[in-house]
């Protein structure tokens, strides 16, 4: 049902190899993109700048980290710091008068340079040792940012983003900021969809499965590990600057702490490690479950009149966050993307379940 395969006959190899061979998938994606493009005109501002905008930004970040963790199998507990480097780099450049387009790329390059040093650790260790090393780097970067007033911005430690233009359009109000975030997310998604069809993507996959086996096959683990960190950090840096310019508008060091790293990690885990669709689902759940729960609790308290003690009520979202992470790891380690895939597979052959390949 829906995902109809009947009547699709590929006559050329290119057709067989395209990203979405099924017509319905293509249609669904076009519909989703159309809705997202039209969102500022159909939905209320609350949903655009309160939900869709952070969703797109955080998803972009999660995709970048997923390249590293899902594709190449490295562990990174300091992605928040990488984003922070990009954000600070680009905001400083913008304040110096560099156009935003260049500043974003430069922020990405700065992140990539420093992020590759994180990767340097990966050459020597893996598993929990790598996790600890990146965790430690997160703390070091935090410390450097917040303790050099040149970087963090004077005694108030807040760096205001000046009014900027992107491709000649002033980034003010909801529309331009939303479309910038959308554009960046779109490009990153496109890159992620295609990367696994490149030699780079396949090298990363080989690395993930067994690094010395990859080395024996002639894939330079040295090169590809660093490259994975480079690309992922570059994406992180660009997303960091997008986050600063479109969403935060004033950055301070505490916005890029370990909590952000763990949050993005949780998005990947809940969404599905190594999937492109996963981060979209995972971000939505991790970002909005606490908000929805909060609103729901507020709603029940004000209309039904039963209310929990304030301490318990306030902590429920945090518990839910933890429970979501635990629950997915225990019951669906492949995340929401897998749940969607199950659903899709079910419909694909419905009603002939036994025809499943």
């Amino acid at each position: 049902m829906f995902y109809r395969r009947a009547g699709i006959r590929h006559t050329r190899y290119q057709d067989e190899r395209q990203l979405f061979p099924l017509g319905f998938d293509r249609g669904l994606i076009i519909v989703v993109i159309a809705i997202l493009l039209a969102a500022p005109f159909i939905f209320d501002r609350l949903y655009v700048s309160g939900y869709l905008l952070p969703w797109l930004i955080w998803t972009s970040a999660a995709l970048g980290l997923n390249l590293l963790m899902g594709w190449s199998g490295q562990i990174h507990l300091g992605y928040g710091a990488v984003m922070g480097i990009g954000a600070y780099g680009s905001v400083h450049l913008v304040r110096l008068g560099v156009p935003l387009e260049i500043a974003m790329i430069a922020g990405g390059l700065l992140s990539a340079t420093i992020g590759t040093m994180f990767g340097g650790a990966a050459l020597r260790m893996k598993g929990i040792y790598l996790a600890m090393a990146t965790l430690a780097m997160q703390y070091v970067v935090d410390f450097v940012i917040s303790h050099s007033s040149v970087i963090s911005g004077g005694s108030l430690a807040t760096l205001q983003v000046p009014p900027v233009r992107f491709l000649g359009i002033p980034l003010q109000g909801d529309l331009p900021t939303y479309y910038l975030a959308f554009g960046v997310c779109f490009v990153i998604t496109l890159f992620m969809l295609n990367v696994r069809r490149t030699s780079f993507g396949r090298a990363l996959a080989a690395l993930r499965e067994k690094d010395y086996a990859a080395q024996i096959l002639g894939i330079s683990t040295f090169r590809y590990k660093l490259l994975a960190f480079w690309v992922s950090s570059f994406i992180g840096g660009v997303v960091g600057s997008v986050l600063a310019v479109t969403y935060l508008r004033a950055i301070s060091p505490d916005q890029f702490h370990i909590e952000l790293s763990i949050q993005i990690l949780a998005m990947i885990i809940v969404g599905g490690l190594g999937s492109v669709l996963g981060p979209f689902f995972g971000t939505a759940l991790i970002l909005f479950a606490p908000i929805l729960l909060n609103n729901l609790l507020g709603f029940t308290a004000s209309t039904l009149g039963w209310s929990l003690p304030i301490d318990l009520r306030a902590h429920l979202p945090l518990m839910a966050y933890g429970a979501l992470v635990i629950g997915f790891l225990l019951y669906e380690p492949l995340g929401l993307a897998k749940i969607y895939a199950n659903f899709r597979n079910y419909l694909l052959v419905w009603p002939f379940r036994h025809a499943q390949r």
């Binding site: 829906f2 109809r4 017509g23 319905f24 249609g27 669904l28 076009i30 519909v31 989703v32 809705i35 939905f43 209320d44 501002r45 609350l46 949903y47 700048s49 309160g50 939900y51 952070p54 955080w58 304040r95 917040s146 303790h147 963090s152 004077g154 005694s155 108030l156 430690a157 807040t158 205001q160 000046p162 009014p163 969403y247 935060l248 508008r249 004033a250 301070s252 060091p253 505490d254 916005q255 909590e259 939505a284 970002l287 909005f288 606490p290 908000i291 929805l292 909060n294 609103n295 507020g298 709603f299 004000s302 209309t303 304030i310 301490d311 009520r313 306030a314 902590h315 979202p317 945090l318």
Partner: protein
Amino acid sequence: MSLDRRSFIAGSAALAAPFALPVRVFAQEKIVRFSLPQDFTRIYTFVTSEYNQGQRDYFTLVNDRGGVSGYKIVADITDHANDLPRAIEAYERGKREGAVLIDPLSTPVARALVPRALEDKINMITAYSGRSDAADGSAFPYVLPLSINYWTQAGLIIEQFKKTEKGSLKGKKIVFVHIDTPFGKEPLPILNVLAKKEGYELTAFPYTPPGNDQSAIWPQVRRARPDFVIFWGAGVGQTVALTEAIRNGLPMDRVSGSVWLSESDMDVVGREAAKGVMKVEPCVGGREPKVIKDILAEVVGKGKGAGPENKVGTAYYNYGVQMATLMVEGVRKAAEKAPNGPVTGPWLNEGLRSITNFTAEGLLPPTTITKDDHQGGGMGRIARWDGAKFVPITDWFSANQDVVWEEIRKNSDEFKKTGK
């Protein structure tokens, strides 16, 4: 494209489902909506529940008495956990539901919301948080601290030390122990300027946030043999600082904190041991003020209290009531100017910025908010812990405002230049 109608509807329904949130509808009455997203779970846990309880109790009191100038106050409370996406969502939600005032009670959140609040013309209360330079109303028309900022608090403390030393701090040694965050470093410029002016020697000791281990700091403080100690932190850092000060045998009557010190901190430190420590009081503590008595009689006494009764009258509870009285007074003033509204941000802004000599029947120092001064005059007093409660040792006073305003102007000019 094989997209039939059914799947399109199903798809869009699935997409729209998360957005179909319940939106509360209220009967058509004159209401003023306040949005109070605060941090109940992360950094500001030590203050939020009491502060918020005070606010809600006062709003209940006002509403039960028939509102203010015919307007009822509706307060939406959510938890933003000091997390920006959640705070911004709460802000946008509040704005959509017609809130004209937001009180996030968190410095990082307030900083991120400043550009939005200025753009959307929504009054943002940044009591004891946010940017200190927001006291300059000409640069931040919609950001209202309505309370003495950290620079003023530091100025008050130094003035009190000066009084203790009979008018001169020349050659004295003052140690400033602070949490190593922007908030902790904030008073430094003022303390440095005053050090030059008054001739005391200032040594600063930063500790790592959140300050649960300061065992290596206080031996150094003791060795510096200070005449006075100022400790500057929040939550667990405060209690640990005091405990360590006691363990290092510092004379407690020469130690002072900012406004962030409460009775429950004293319980953790030990009520007897902490005897003598000073703090800045921005409003009257305890259950003596008439407003608190009214709340006890009319709200808590009737079982409508928003939280445990024993919290009523604690320092942070009273801060909450203090802010709530100022907000309500703003509504009253606004209704005086334009009785029929419409209830918008600018409407309330007019009211808030014309509060004059307001004392909330003896709860606050005389507070006057003007278009230039959002701090409210900069009055506070110093109180001393006597083992059971904080006893004021001075009257309401204001000090070193010239230095403070110089710093405010310096920073707000910077904001004007780069911000907008």
